[in-house]
Amino acid sequence: MTQELRTPVPKTPTWRGLRDVGADSPARPVYLSLLALTVFAWILFLTDGGQFFSQVNTVGILQRSAALGIVAVGQTLVILAGSLDLSVAFLISLVSLVAAETMADYGVLPAIGAVLAVSALVGLVNGLVITRLKVHAFIATLGISLIIKGVLDHRYDGPAGSVPESFQRLGYDRIGPVPVSALLWAAIAFAAWFLLRRTPLGYRIYAVGGDPEVARLSGVRTDRVVVAAHVLCALCAGMAGLLLAARLGAGAPTVGSDGGYDLESIAAVVLGGTALAGGRGGVAGTVGGVLLLAVLDSVFNQLEINSFAKDVVRGLVLVAALAIYARRRLAR
């Protein structure tokens, strides 16, 4: 036995940390595209007499993408688990109001607590409707999102509550050159990456998304995993809602839906190479996807292109990227 045991743990060439962008990684194309686009943007800014890597521009990019980035990280978790969450947009609106109104009356900490509790509850309901009532995730989260919308429409006509100065700093302050909001995004992204890479729950999210039947036969309690992913996704949406409330200085019933966070977060996730069917991909790709969209926006701004053109190009980029991924999968 001892002799046999000497077989070395094999020599996979890739250093572990690079697994996320290694040749085998679904996230690689998005980073290559991001790199190409950044170089393009840099040259474009130069010829325009600007500086892409100027502090104003990079800070702007980070600040603009933080909220979507946070939502997209959460969306990554549910999509990896083979589900999807269309309720994040209205949830963001809801928690922005919860945050602003609670802060006005009770202060910042209780407000954060309330936001997290409300988000977790919505995520829990999403997860339970999907797993217990066996409603397709698309319909379940669409239904929940309609319910939230109804509550919002019923109770609010416009912005409400107010966010104290101290908390508004979350929206605009910087630590050194880095916006606090971007730090928050980075922290959440790192936490999710760590969850997926190092914790049993993360492993099971991949398993359930990869093949629920295989996961079940291997003893994974698949329902719990799906519920947990939905709770985490909703918590991410809650954080994004807090961030947006800090930016606006108040809660707004349309901040989530106007931002299109539901479909845009899904778009960012799949741009990042995560399979819509689940089980394949990761947070690293999603971060790349969000940054790609943000750099694209920055290019449009530089070129002073009409904002409607952005939508057109976003749509084209999304479809083209997915078509390319499909070809790559086929080629293997």
């Binding site: 109804g150 479809v319 499909a326």
Partner: protein
Amino acid sequence: MRRTLPIFGVLAVLLVAIAVANPYFLELPGFLAFVKRAAPLAILAAGQYFVIVSGEFDLSVGSLVTAEVVIAARLIDGDPGATWPVIALLLVLGALIGLVNGAVTTLLRVPSFITTLGMMLILAGAVFLWTGGAPRGALTEEFRTFGRGGLGPVPWSVLILLAVVTAVVLLMRADFGRTLVATGDNPGAAALSGVRVPRAKTIAFVLSGLSAAVCAILLGGFAGVSAQVGQGLEFQAITAVVLGGVVLGGGRGSVVAAIAGAFTLEALFTLLNLYGISGALESAVQGVILIAAIALGSLTLPAWAARARTTNATTHTTPDPTHAKG
């Protein structure tokens, strides 16, 4: 057809409730007014049905409706002579968008959720890019008469709806419809039986695009030109189809039930209005009903019910004995 029964039950209950609250509903003009309101969504749901039953999604129809209305207003710009050519153009455009959706989904193998999401962004952006941000121009009376006017007492939209329903029912009974459902159920088996799967699915997308064009023509007349005219319609159409018992993922459900789903939604809105429940809560009720309807449809029946229905059960999956055995 058995699967479709629940939705007709729900619809009947809602209609009775409306009639109780508002006896005018029982008179012909009252009822026709209701059908007229429901017609655009019903037509859109019929189109969405083809896509869903073939195993795909079409999220682009809302944007497409908006785009079509905005384009119509800009191109017609109050010129009665332009009405018919523009209507033809709208239909061609709808079909074309469907063709692109279908081709990208089947040939480039992009998940239809993403294809049509991309198309949604592209259409919304392109139309306003073209009109400079806000709808311009105006529709003519001739154009608007389809959504507003009628042939004697019968609104045009009701007649158009009847024509559409007849057409889709015939289509679903024809070879195309049967092969489309089989394709949604099992694309592999369909392909090995000689079905041109990409073609069948693409036609489904084309039909969805056409239905969006017709819906836009009716809505343009009924509600007028605005940038919001099609907003959220894709979700309403999917909701209607799913309410009708059509299964996401394809292969199951009838087109008549999908249309009934659209009527159910419209009846629900009407009822909420009648009982003075604010328009605001409308969507909340819609959400609850949506989840409840699907959950009730998919929950496993109790054992006694399952036994009674083994030979003809369609609303739930019984463990398959042939599969369970070695």
